[in-house]
Symmetry: C2
Subunit: 216 residues, 2 copies
């Protein structure tokens, strides 16, 4: 092929190639709510015997979780409470392991956290296509899920930029949420981790083991 | 068409019709883990202004949830705890509104419930294709989710058959779970319901309103 023809072909193909490269990121952050939209895009599960890696994997591929707090509402005062919250530990492929939240004082969970910051977050691969695809029941340990206990606190300014970028990349809708709700960035300071990813009971992972994972 | 020919045609068509009728139930309970496998099978969301119906809808289409309890484990004693549990409120299209669980004393949550049966269950349409399909972030109220507070207790024998059938239809794998785990059927006795399905804060639904829904 002559030089000019090759250049023309390259010029014609370039947008297609760019589109192909950009597509996975778009599929997650764009159309949907930042989830790994299709099974094809979900990275492979790390070896189940590497508990810390599996825990980090679950945190990273989940873009929401259920947070348990102690209720401060009169009707259920002192009782355990749970709500669904969006979260992100980093942009796709660059997870930090730290679950960041975008919270408002108007949320019931935030009222609870103001009185008692102790909380537990649970996330499951049942939130992705993984378990359905493999035929694992959500309660089966093969449908890997994690339990992260700790405290939820506001994120300081230094960490705030990364946290906000992590959240907004995977939850683009957040940028448009009404400012009257006084949204702020918070994180779970993890003290205890349980992983259920195989038979034989929950595996304990220390925060050190969890944060030392460098697979990303 | 002559009588015998019509009978022959009916005989030939019958298996096809049966297959068509059975297919949706199969798609849910068979291949996957009992979820409404594809967006095509998910029934339409009831009108959002009918809070009790929407709450019942979320309970029925979700086949798992996150249960908050108070921890009895030394490391996090008295702290809120959360885990993912499979559940069912009835066979597809015949939901009772009662979340039934299949529990084992080996589960952390069950140890907690033995000390304090108070619990809160949260379930979200983010668990289905609904929110992704419509582009609703999991934390947006448009991605409808519910919070059910109450107590978790063992189910008595009269109710046990329906509960077990409800669970096993949507979680066929449960039938093969190891008997050494001493599985038993339990339910959430709902005392308080919050629905987040639109802007303006959580809607309170009373258990009476919730159980009076007869859309199914």
């Amino acid at each position: 092929m002559a030089g000019p023809a090759r250049a023309l072909l390259a010029a014609l193909l370039a947008p297609v190639l760019v589109a192909l490269l950009v597509a996975p990121a778009w599929g997650r952050g764009g159309k949907g709510h930042g989830d790994w939209d299709t099974g094809a895009l979900l990275p492979p599960l790390p070896p189940r015997e590497d508990a810390a890696r599996v825990a980090r994997f679950v945190t990273h591929v989940c873009d929401w979780g259920a947070l348990a707090t102690i209720s401060t509402q009169e009707a259920v005062l002192g009782q355990p409470f749970a709500d669904v919250l969006s979260l992100s530990d980093g942009p796709p492929g660059a997870g930090s392991g730290v679950p960041y939240f975008y919270l408002s004082p108007l949320q019931q969970s935030v009222g609870n956290l103001q009185a008692n910051p102790g909380a537990t977050l649970t996330m499951s691969l049942a939130q992705t296509d993984f378990c359905r695809k493999h035929g694992f029941d959500p309660q089966s340990p093969l449908c890997a899920h994690i339990i992260l206990a700790g405290t939820v606190t506001k994120v300081n300014e230094t960490e705030g930029d990364f946290a906000k970028q992590s959240l907004f990349t995977r939850h683009p809708e957040m940028k448009t949420w009404p400012s009257s709700h006084n949204w702020f960035v918070a994180k779970l300071n993890i003290t205890n981790i349980w992983l259920l990813d195989y038979f034989g009971g929950p595996k304990i992972v220390t925060p050190e083991e969890y944060y030392n994972v460098t697979f990303q």
